[in-house]
């Protein structure tokens, strides 16, 4: 018995083994001449092997605080004051000036000295009350400061009293809690320790190239490891958990035949709103719903400007009545931070897309929301379109069903009528998740007021998913801010 454990002892364990009887870690550190971390690790290993029992005892240590350190070096305020008063009296004014003490220190020093009966204050004068020999003797306070740091338990009753007084003063004393580990070796351990003394056989530690070359390992044993020992954590490089998800979504959409596109984040109202037939006085265009950026764009140069303006005013050739107002170029040329991914779809329609064609974008969008667990002023939208003469609303519903299966992993869905300024008919996608219906996306067929002015005669199915929300629901993330987490540990473990 004990042989296996004996072989498995690491060099550091073997080094501390003779000193375990000393009890406290501190003493073991001193006696073994190892550093504290090493000793602690060795003790941890020994405990794992059930060779020692450890007890953690927390002690209060008294130490000097900032002012304490200063006073120990440069004297206590009361000493500075009394030094001025040896064999002479001084006015309060002079004493204050000559002592070089702060007002607070001066008052404290006066108080302390009065209490000790060393001085008296009469008619704005300080009078020494004791002889020189008495005055130059070390104060008990000074003696205590010299003794520090020390554990509370080692202080005498009187010293503890002084300690209480000093504690009341500003930053002289600080009480630190220090925990120390006390060790008690088991019987087995003591036996092993005895054996160790007689254990002449040399155990091999690290196998080295030299050992292999020399054959020095032959007829020798390797020290056995404790294979159950916990090792310090390491961290590898890692993709951001959410960005990785977005990439997976991209791959899946590519597999469905969609082509990835992008568009600018600083966008003209023209593209963010007008091209999407949002009326110019629509409430969602106010400063509460859009971030405006300084500067404006020269809208009149836009190829589609005229027909979009006219579509708003009287419907142009789209078969629409239009909004029947005067279109404001000023409004249209304002710059905003893109508030909806659909702005990218409008740009795609305007840039001679392939027909039939399928496009998608993951768009960073911005809305002036106050940040909380469910709102961020920056968020991501997944946005896609299908352009085709042959397609229709039934196909849009089919697509939404497919997207719900792929991205939300469910076929329990609801398709509900809704409203968007740029689609008709419009539909909302809801999925059943954890006993609730959740809106995860919207879709529709672009209005002719959107497509025709941009030169598209075919039908355009448009859909968007709130992927931030979708991801959160699927991964049980309650706080949207976690998607932008600033905590490296969180990211390392995600």
């Amino acid at each position: 018995m004990g042989e296996d454990k004996l072989i498995s002892l690491s060099p550091i364990e073997r080094k501390v083994l003779p000193f375990l009887g000393l009890g406290s870690t501190e003493k073991i550190v001193e006696a073994s001449k190892l550093d504290e971390t090493t000793v602690r690790r060795a003790l941890q290993f020994l405990e794992n092997k059930k060779l020692i029992i450890t007890k953690k005892i927390t002690k209060e240590f008294i130490d000097l605080d900032v002012n304490g350190i200063l006073y120990k070096k440069n004297f206590l305020p009361e000493r500075k004051l009394i030094n001025l008063l040896i064999d002479k009296k001084l006015s309060l004014e002079e004493a204050r000036k000559n002592s070089g003490l702060s007002e607070n220190e001066f008052q404290v020093a006066l108080g302390v000295l009065k209490k000790k009966g060393f001085i008296a204050v009469e008619n704005n004068e300080i009078l020494p009350k004791k002889e020189k020999e008495e005055l130059i003797k070390k104060f008990p306070e000074e003696k205590l400061l010299e003794k520090l740091p020390a554990p509370v338990e080692e202080l005498s009753k009187d010293e503890k009293k002084i300690l209480q007084e000093l504690k009341k003063r500003k930053k002289i004393i600080v009480v630190n809690k220090k925990s120390e580990i006390f060790v008690e070796p088991t019987e087995e351990c003591k036996e092993i320790a005895k054996k160790l003394e007689n254990f002449k056989q040399e155990l091999l530690e690290q196998l080295t190239p030299e050992l292999i070359k020399s054959g020095g390992w032959k007829n020798k044993k390797f020290r056995a490891y404790d294979v159950t020992t916990k090792v310090p954590e390491i961290f590898g490089g890692k993709r951001h958990f959410y960005l990785k998800f977005l990439e997976k979504i991209k791959q899946e959409l590519v597999a469905l035949g969609f082509e990835e596109v992008k568009g600018p984040m600083v966008e003209a109202c023209f593209w963010n709103c007008d091209a999407l037939f949002m009326p110019q006085d629509h409430p969602a265009r106010s400063i509460h719903d859009l971030y405006f950026v300084e500067g404006k764009t020269e809208i009149k140069n836009f190829k589609f400007f005229k027909q979009i303006k006219q579509t708003h005013e009287d419907g142009w050739k789209t078969g629409s009545d239009g909004w029947r107002y005067k279109f404001s170029e000023e409004e249209s040329s304002k710059l905003v931070l893109r508030s909806q991914g659909t702005a990218i779809s409008a740009r795609i329609l305007a840039s001679k897309p392939k027909i039939p064609g399928k496009y998608f974008a993951i768009a960073r969008c911005f809305r002036p929301d106050v940040t909380d667990a469910s709102h961020l002023p920056e968020f991501n939208q997944l946005e896609g379109i299908i352009i085709s003469k042959e397609t229709n609303f039934s196909e849009l519903l089919g697509l939404l069903k497919l997207l719900a299966e792929k991205f939300a992993g469910t076929n329990k869905i609801k398709l509900v009528p809704t409203y968007f300024p740029f689609t008709e008919p419009s539909v909302e996608l809801q999925v059943f998740f954890e006993s609730k219906w959740l809106e995860i996306g919207g879709a529709g067929i672009f209005r002719p007021e959107v497509t025709l002015p941009l030169g598209i005669k075919e039908k355009v199915l448009a859909w968007g998913l709130g992927i931030d929300r979708l991801f959160m629901v699927k991964n049980n993330i309650k706080d949207i801010r976690d998607l932008f987490s600033q905590d490296i540990e969180f990211l390392r473990k995600r």
């Binding site: 961290f235 490089g237 993709r239 951001h240 959410y242 960005l243 791959q251 590519v254 035949g257 969609f258 082509e259 990835e260 596109v261 600018p264 600083v266 966008e267 629509h282 971030y291 405006f292 950026v293 764009t297 419907g315 078969g319 629409s320 029947r324 107002y325 039939p356 399928k358 929301d369 106050v370 940040t371 002023p377 920056e378 299908i386 085709s388 042959e390 229709n392 609303f393 039934s394 196909e395 519903l397 089919g398 939404l400 497919l402 398709l415 509900v416 009528p417 409203y419 008709e424 008919p425 419009s426 209005r447 199915l461 998607l483 932008f484 905590d487 490296i488 540990e489 990211l491 390392r492």
Partner: protein, 550 residues
Amino acid sequence: MPTIEISKKDLENLCGKKFSLEKLKELLEFVKTSIESIEEDKITLKIEDTNRADLLSVEGIARELKAITGKEKGLVNYEIIKSNFVVKVDKKVKKVRPYTACAVVKDLCFNHTIIEQIIQLQEKLSETFGRKRKDAAIGIYDFDKIKWPITYTTFKPDSISFVPLGFVEKLTLKEIIEKHEKGKLYGHLLEKAKEYPIFIDANNEVLSMPPIINSEYSGKITTETRNVFIEVSGFRLEKLLHVLNIVVSALAERKGKIYAVEIHDTKKFFTPIFATRRKVLKLEDINSLLGLELNPKQVIKLLQKMRYNAKEKKGKIIAEIPFYREDVIHNVDIIEDIAIAYGYKNFKPRKPQIFTEGKLLEESEKKQEIKELLIGLGFQEINSFIMSNKKEQFENMNSKPESFVKIKNPVSETFTCLRKSLLPSLLKFFSNNTTKEMPQKIFEIAPVVEPNERKETKTEEKNKIAVAITHARANFTEILQVLDYIMNNLKKQYQLEKKEFPWFIAGRSAEILVEKKSIGFLGEIAPQVLENWNLKMPIAAFELCFDDLL
């Protein structure tokens, strides 16, 4: 999205039918409305369709539900009775609030619920369609206190006074703007006016000062009120007529009798006007948009369910649109109503048939390649905000704020501009992790935005790569090894040229050049910058323009 509060019982009374909550939810989907909260009998409804003013009242919702449940069908028919009530419009109002449209509704029976609903409708309408009373403000008055004819005119701010609603003493118009709660709230709408608009009756009793406040005398509705006068004032007659129709038709659902009012403006005309419009639809357009095979009879039935009248003529469908449906401006709006009436759940969803070839953006492919390399080197990817602020972008970096993309209406101090550089995002990240396990190695590949007058949007977006290392011995060599590894793997020749940057230690930073073009910088972060960010460990970092690597 507007919300309205209704009483379920009231809705059921109006519909003449009781509903289970489940049934009600289902029915409300037909009018794009959902239940936001329920508190006993009180239900808060969220109206999705911001273009449908008719749905802002329980009466309007009931009107639609009656047809959806089959109790009624097709157009509603409210009678407008002729009368001699006259509102004279003084030329003077053309300068301040040029138009009004009016009506009288009699034989009403108000209770508290109904009054609440009417006030709610009035408020919601003037908030949303009236654009916070600017474009349309609504006044409702006790008809029996009015001596006809009424004049819509203007008065100088000090020349007349009346007791505003909720007050006991008379105030001049000027005092109302200054002292009354509504005056403070809406006074800015009359900011530029030299005289203020006033409705006044033949006894010289002031009815109201639109769009601010009614008078206490006649502008108050109680359970005693039986007959009301309604006016809407604003800038576009077309809009006012629409808003008036919404209010009047809601009262018509309460069994009120509608009387026309003759407006003596530059021309004489009667209001309200309940004019329906017609649109002609081709059956094939309906079926091809929806992917259905409906016949004309089915289409007509579906339209009647949505309160349209419809008939077939020479293979086409002629739809007569309810007068309150101003939102219908194109045939597709009608086709959507057909689809809703058909029921979205009755469609047979079909996967899109067309074949297309999918592909990623070139930049997405390249990003993945570089990310893989960095992860191989043990770097953690981070995701940060594109919005930033001057302090983080410039002050903390020891650099002067040059041109950058500024947000005009920031909500918080954290987000006041767009970031111009990615490096601050990484330093910010480190500053939030000073107590965490070292070393820390992080990167981000993401866009920054710079002003650029030559671009259409006056800005230019660039994708950047930023890489940073922090630990007790982080240095130039270590970060340069990372750059070297990336560039070698991308088979990109590059040079480093000595250059100083305010955020790097002088003499320990360089510019990264590819084909003599500067694409980024690399170095050890200056201690002052570390201090600015409250960082405790050395950092070495580089940032380069990803787009230049494509």
